[in-house]
Subunit: 104 residues, 3 copies
Amino acid sequence: MSTPSPTEVTLVRIYLTETEKNLAHLLKYLHEDSQLRGVTVLRGISGFGKSGKLHTTHLLDLSFDLPVIVEFFDTPDKISYILTQINQFVAPDHIVHWTAYLSE
Amino acid sequence: MSTPSPTEVTLVRIYLTETEKNLAHLLKYLHEDSQLRGVTVLRGISGFGKSGKLHTTHLLDLSFDLPVIVEFFDTPDKISYILTQINQFVAPDHIVHWTAYLSE
Amino acid sequence: MSTPSPTEVTLVRIYLTETEKNLAHLLKYLHEDSQLRGVTVLRGISGFGKSGKLHTTHLLDLSFDLPVIVEFFDTPDKISYILTQINQFVAPDHIVHWTAYLSE
């Protein structure tokens, strides 16, 4: 049967930068509407995107527009629905996902 | 034969917050007893868990109880054993793992 | 047919520390020569490698030689080529990769 095992989850990572307008929109959606069990936001110390422009930081994290990764996981069905919602305001090539397993 | 390829590893990510008591326990176990080849601890700048309560930071990382991710990888057999140990003091739905490959 | 789906990517994570000489070499290669669509560099707050020596930080991120993770993804073919290049200056057991999917 094709029902996923109860311990299978889909893990999602979304790559943005601090000043992108859709970051606030994304976090609001995830926190208020997504019903996710948890979300973690990570800030990189350096990075570059399609423009080739470096976004970097030095001591004390005072730079601006650093890379931000938004990460979460949940059941495959719930994530599939959430991705259709997020695709409406985040470029699809900034979103990756894969299958992982809970330690149960 | 079911022996994994020598380059196959299991990658683990454990999601906690800075003030959870089991974080110190987990790091002590990983550092002193697990025989792992390496562990990385990452701190998020924002996040929320089941409670829906936001854990967030602003400039200079002065906030408290931020999300923390503990990440490590090793052979599937070693990770399988380590997860049985960690499951005794970390909630299983805070631990995800998947198969990855070394670049050999 | 074995052609990968257009949305399949290989995600790579490389584990180094801030003072390793090959970190600068790696970032220069990725930024100038790799033609990657994006790279993110994350700094851990603690970690240890084969030596068992802890690399850790406290308030305000003033410590030295913290763990650094370099992360990127692209098509399987491009990543396969890039890994052959990176293997020339980074130890293979510091590089993990797995298959993920774009949200398209």
